[in-house]
Symmetry: C2
Subunit: 480 residues, 2 copies
């Protein structure tokens, strides 16, 4: 453990603050290869929580986990032209096995559509084989040369990628929407991060997709973060890969495929959205530890008694479904431990001293607002569970307020540029639907269309760029 | 699903039998790159069970999961000479990122000691930082050119690799033994595969280890399978990687490290040990489905009623902790389904027909011995749980009997060669401890020392090869 505090304010140097928090709280460390990181136990346990939550959602709806090969022959990647063009600059190429030069270069998967579809074309023959609802949790690698950032943009990351095949477009549409719903639930109800949900424009969609849906959150520096995507790939991959089935009507048809993913990037978003000048602030539902119990004693004779009580309390909490830990390390002072666990963002701290034992009480301190209350021992499980819920709700509420306060509706390009420059955030504007305007805005301001709402919003002005007739209300932002 | 039976007998063509079972039961499919496979849902779910079981064991004893980078700079691998020499012929080398040639080649991890120790040397400073008890579940790649076999020897596989650092040799020893105990429990109590447990000889130990302990099972063709290993790496890695700590006595010391692993190879062992001429036979404790319920109806009017009852039974079983599935697909006959689920090795089949409903009973068929009994509906959860336990025990018992019957004690080299040629299995023999004898035996017979028992066994003859004074009783076998 680092045991040192954060030396800059979140509001003053956000980028440096982020770097210090992820390093000092023990979430990660930098790897020897550019852009790679080690996911230390404290971040990996958050990832395990995310896996547990999402696995439950998808398994309950008939999806099953699998594992496909890491290495993809170059010829596979080339089968879908857009896809290849997009990913090839970032591919890590394997050229040798031992001393032997390979006949064909192998890509470390940047994403697995092409290798998975190779298998689907072998497995799918009949309508009886559909739908295919598979998912894998794995590592993917994309060589990131510039602007790497731990969790947010790394040369290797962990993710899940779901890949499904369906008989019809409508079924594929429903699958895309189901995943979007699950993702939103995960992000808002568990990570306490509110998201805007919608479609991507043609320019911004996944390379090779029929259409892409996305969930976008707002970071404290006013930049948007793409939190997850769910694509209907249409028949764009089933055709080059020959994934055909004989339907009930005896006719041979191409399947419709979808893919959907979330990655360890979510961990970075949690840090950014909830953290404060003291370090991490973790939403209780995904915190590796929800409660840290710190025994406080001054005289030597008190240690045993206080530590025993701390362990008793911990065990009672664990029996009530709370993830608790006792920090009984003798080599550190209580003050040092307070700082350490605040840095690590544990939602609740319980302090127990000799006087508390006498009074059959404990002191409870909330990490999010530092509210300090005394609770009777007998009420503890109820009280803690209540507080954890309160913290969870409060973090979401605060983040939602920020999102709302930083979503501006603009009617002119002047206003657009002013808002973007002064505070960033999401900019709600009308758009003519022409890619030219989108391109120019990106070129001139750096902002892109983050979402086109699923439910068309009412047009309230001309196109913010060209001033011609608008067709869509969309949300722009600069993004990570 | 394949829906076709196995066309060879396990006893007649074991290798072809194995290939047919793993393919037709839907466990795997071959990948486009030599030696790679897709882990289909049916094998991956077994792996998930293994993860769940082992995670519980290690987390309860203070170990935590992490994730280290996939790509290892060549210079890291070179730091421990033996280690490098051993792994380098199998390494997949990354030489380019996009169009850029890399300054240094990167290895796809064949194992992670070197990259992990790079981090440990940064993280460990003081006795307060010890022990470090970390584990990762990940993919590793080793280019296998010849004799690849699904699950058993593949160019990419999944495993867990635990890596711990300790202040003393004794602590590292205890860690090695703890993992050996956990592995044995996993293999025998869950996979129903009995193992011989012991040390490896110097010749057979892990490249770079101080010593290696291992668990070895016996396959039906008389060959041994290394099921898992737990190494004390001594200070062999901490010295080249500079992993030092200041001890309580203020002196700087090198840590002692251990590593331990099990892989998806275990899935292959399950297939080999328990399978029969009809396909897979899965031990209930790791079977994705423990019970398949097949509604049986002949007249159209019966379908709804029977299917409803099947679902009712399934839901009662699930409430009682049984993993049950109803196969109500209308497009297949009951007979077809029986074959299919026998191929997939589901421990228990329940048949429900109209007459059974009337009599408030069901028919239960055990996969391992095809014993068929009728059970009253009201006793079902108890009865099923009892049967699952019986099957689990019976599989282990049968496998243990095979192991015992195929472990021969020999006193002469003539006898050694005769047993090895005629039936294989483990050969218990005395050995002088000289590597020369071990080398010659390997050269002349293909057999290697699989284990040296942890508890020295009583010498009962001269060295089986050189006829000089023996120092150890050891177990030889040909191995996968």
């Amino acid at each position: 453990m680092a045991g040192q505090g954060i030396t800059v304010k979140k509001s003053e140097d956000f980028s440096e603050w982020y770097t210090q928090v992820v390093l000092k709280s023990g979430l990660m460390d930098y790897g020897p290869v550019q852009g790679t990181i080690a996911f230390r136990e404290y971040s990996f346990e958050i990832w395990e929580k995310i896996q547990e939550i999402f696995n439950k959602m998808i398994k309950n709806t008939g999806h099953r986990n699998v594992y496909f090969p890491l290495l993809i022959p170059e010829s596979f990647l080339r089968k879908e032209a857009e896809h290849f063009k997009n990913f090839v600059p970032e591919v890590f190429w394997v050229t040798h096995a031992g001393d032997n030069k390979l006949g064909e270069r192998l890509a470390i998967r940047p994403t697995s559509e092409t290798i998975i579809y190779h298998f689907y074309s072998k497995w799918i023959r009949s309508w009886r084989d559909l739908p295919v609802l598979l998912n894998q949790w794995c590592n993917v690698a994309r060589a990131e040369i510039k602007s790497t950032k731990p969790f947010i943009r790394t040369s290797e990351f962990l993710w899940q990628e779901g890949h499904t095949a369906h008989a019809t477009k409508e079924e594929a549409d429903r699958e895309v929407m189901l995943m979007l719903k699950f993702y939103q639930e995960l992000m808002e109800d568990y990570l306490a991060i509110p998201v805007l949900v919608g479609k991507k424009s043609e320019r911004e969609k996944f390379a090779g997709a029929f259409y892409t849906t996305t969930l976008e959150a707002l970071m404290p520096d006013g930049k948007a973060m793409q939190m997850g995507t769910s694509h209907n790939l249409g028949q764009n991959f089933s055709k080059p890969f020959g994934i055909k089935f004989v339907d009930k009507d005896k006719r041979e048809k191409y399947v419709w495929t979808t893919s959907w993913g979330i990655s360890t990037r979510l961990i970075g978003a949690i840090v950014m959205v909830h953290g404060d000048d003291k370090g991490l602030v973790l939403p209780p539902r995904i915190a590796p530890y929800q409660v840290v119990i710190i025994p406080i004693y001054y005289k030597k004779g008190e240690k045993k008694k206080v530590t025993k009580k701390a362990k008793e309390v911990s065990s009672i909490l664990e029996k009530n479904g709370v993830r608790a830990v006792v920090d009984d390390r003798a080599e550190y002072t209580p003050g040092w431990k307070f700082n350490e666990w605040e840095l690590k963002g544990v939602p609740i701290r319980i302090e127990i001293g000799p006087l508390d034992i006498k009074k059959k009480q404990v002191v409870i301190v909330r990490r999010d607002n530092f509210e300090k209350v005394t609770a009777e021992e007998k009420d503890l499980p109820k009280k803690i569970n209540f507080s954890l819920n309160e913290i969870q709700k409060s973090l979401l509420k605060k983040a939602r307020k920020f999102l709302e306060e930083n979503t501006a509706t603009v009617k002119s390009y002047e206003e657009f540029k002013k808002v973007l420059e002064e505070k960033g955030g999401f900019i709600r504007a009308c758009w003519c639907s022409e890619q030219h305007c989108e391109d120019q805005i990106k070129l001139e301001t750096g902002a892109t269309i983050r979402i086109i709402p699923l439910k068309k919003e009412k047009i309230f002005s001309k196109c913010v760029y060209c001033n011609k007739k608008a067709r869509e209300v969309v949300y722009f932002a600069k993004a990570y």
